[in-house]
């Protein structure tokens, strides 16, 4: 495995103006600004191998965007070193950015009023892509994303899903070694979401592109990534594969129960009642209780008359919510 991104002890401080309150605060703010230092990143260290698909996750405001901006050379860190593909992103900018592609989920790099293909041609000039290479790449992207009929239409006529497909294609025209995706599936319908995921996987396999994606959609993480980096309050909390986090919480089960009659209250030693509505209830075993089907059935049928029950593992979202809670994010 070749290390492609090496992030060592990166710190990033922002100076933020502090607002005065009270009388004449507007004037005070205008003339005498007090500043306070906010630490957006604290000693962030991680590494990513070539060909990885990495999920970069964390709650809002954790420092995800700041990290992506540093990795793409938009921001310079306050301290620490970062080497990506042998280069320092914020030095020799022009040489570095040729190797990266970035898709910001919420904003577009394509032109609003002009056919998509024209925007692509502009990108061809910007990245100085040779004609034959451009043609070849476009063909691959066309096939994988079904762009053919979209290319002649301006961005304003496209649906959100179509836009995202074009956006992805646009970021890949110069065949970057590293692709940053900022919430690539936000707002997409189920079918498109799957198509986008398939495409990301396809590109990763086909071109061996290293992909770093931020998302709040945990099914993205589960379907795509082979590594996650969890950040919270500017610090890296976990890096490694997602399965080991899943295993950590695999002992926790949720049990949905249907009772034979209505009970006013449900109580069971070693279990927490998550919800209860007349004949139905959902329980969860406490960390101290190891779930065992036979024991559970014995225990509950002593107190209540039950018809049916179903045991589930924690969903990915719940796991993450627990993780955030554990780290007090």
């Amino acid at each position: 495995m070749v290390r492609i991104i090496e992030f060592t002890d990166i710190c990033k401080n922002f100076k933020v103006p502090e607002r005065n309150k009270g009388r004449f605060s507007m004037f005070k703010n205008f003339f005498m600004r007090k500043h306070k230092i906010i630490q957006a990143l604290k000693d962030v260290t991680f590494s990513i191998d070539e060909g990885d698909i990495v999920g970069y996750i964390g709650p809002n405001g954790a420092g995800k965007s700041t990290t992506i901006k540093i990795m793409s050379g938009i921001l310079t860190p306050s301290s620490g070193t970062c080497i990506i593909d042998g280069l320092v992103p914020w030095k020799n900018r022009k040489k570095f950015v040729k190797n990266i592609g970035v898709v910001f989920g919420q904003r577009s790099q394509l032109w609003w009023d002009v056919p998509i293909i024209d925007s692509f041609n502009l990108l061809k000039d910007i990245y100085k892509i040779p004609d034959d290479e451009f043609k070849q790449t476009l063909e691959v992207l066309n096939k994988a994303l079904n762009l053919e009929e979209l290319l002649g239409r301006p961005l304003r006529q496209l649906s959100l899903g179509q836009k995202m497909k074009c956006e992805l294609a646009g970021a890949l025209l110069h065949r970057p070694k590293i692709l940053f995706l900022d919430e690539p599936t936000i707002g997409l319908d189920a079918v498109t979401k799957l198509a986008v995921r398939d495409f990301i996987k396809y590109i990763n396999q086909q071109w061996h592109t290293t992909i770093i994606l931020t998302t709040h959609d945990m099914s993205d993480i589960e379907a795509l990534t082979n590594k996650i980096i969890l950040i919270g309050k500017g610090q890296i909390l976990y890096q490694g594969n997602f399965d080991s986090i899943k295993n950590k919480y695999s002992s926790i089960k949720t049990i949905e129960i249907e009772f034979a009659k209505e009970y006013d209250t449900i109580e069971l030693e070693g279990y927490e009642v998550v919800s209860h509505n007349k004949k139905f209830a959902t329980l969860k075993n406490l960390p101290t209780t190891e779930f065992h089907t036979k024991n559970f059935v014995n225990k509950i049928s002593q107190k209540y008359e039950i018809i049916d029950f179903q045991v589930n593992n924690l969903s990915v979202d719940e796991i993450l919510a627990r993780l955030y809670k554990e780290y007090k994010l």
Partner: protein, 259 residues
């Protein structure tokens, strides 16, 4: 060539709204004609202002219109720089292997401003035809330098206000004083203003270098030594250099502090 491609894209975009563009152009020409009328009425009252006749100062106005609108047309990206910051476009520029200035130029080309450029040229021609000038080769050179100087100075002002907006982020109106204010001021012979204003707009923001001074030389009016008036536009051009340096420093600051 990349710039040709940018031009093509902006043409295509604006042709999506061609009636809108035509209307804007027409509208701007109308507004400017009314400005010319205002100056005309002023001169009708006084015959001459600070030793300048109506047609003589009309030349000045024509030059200002031409250079200002030409710069606005092609360097609008600097003028609307706060928008580029807010929309995240600037971040996008920073992750492309092309010089930032090149991309800012490419980001916005406003063809509707060409209506005003045309008006400026028409006004200048009318004015020149109504003024007695003994043309010499040197005067032609100075006139060309005047236009170039005008474009450089206005461009410098745009770059300067773009640089300031990196610190303020918000699109503060006071930045408009720098650009628009300087333009309005340049309609009249600069010696009509108070001494301190004249000093500022000669030595700090060299507005006088592309209207009052070179025209004094070409029209042979005023008391300032001719060689000084003739070389003024060449010195005025230098104004753009510190502006660009300031902008580049501001951009470096942007990269370390973000938005």
């Amino acid at each position: 060539m990349l710039y040709a491609n940018y031009l093509k894209m902006h043409l295509k975009s604006s042709f999506q709204y061609r009636y809108n563009m035509m209307f804007i152009s027409f509208n701007q020409v109308l507004i400017n004609i009314s400005e010319v009328l205002a100056v005309y009425l002023l001169f009708k009252q006084f015959d001459s202002v600070a030793g300048w006749t109506f047609y003589q100062s009309l030349i000045m106005m024509g030059i200002v219109y031409t250079v200002y609108s030409l710069t606005e047309c092609f360097a609008r990206g600097y003028d609307e720089f706060p928008k580029l910051i807010q929309s995240g476009e600037l971040d996008r520029f920073l992750i492309r292997p092309v010089n930032i200035h090149y991309q800012i130029f490419g980001s916005k080309i406003e063809f509707s401003k060409l209506g005003r450029v045309a008006l400026g040229i028409v006004i200048s021609i009318i004015a020149f035809l109504n003024v007695d000038i003994e043309w010499t080769a040197l005067k032609v050179i100075v006139l060309i330098a005047t236009y170039v100087c005008g474009i450089f100075v206005i461009f410098g002002l745009f770059v300067l206000s773009a640089g300031i907006s990196i610190y303020t982020i918000e699109n503060l109106e006071f930045l408009n004083i720098i650009t628009n204010g300087s333009k309005e001021l340049a309609y009249y012979p600069i010696n009509i203003y108070a001494k301190w204003l004249t000093t500022i707009f000669t030595y700090i923001i060299p507005i006088a270098c592309f209207n009052y001074l070179p025209l004094s030389y070409i029209l042979e009016i005023g008391t300032i030594p001719a060689w000084l008036c003739a070389t003024a536009p060449f010195f005025g051009m230098l104004f753009v250099i510190p502006c660009i340096i300031f902008f580049n420093l501001s951009l470096r600051k942007y990269k370390s502090s973000g938005s």
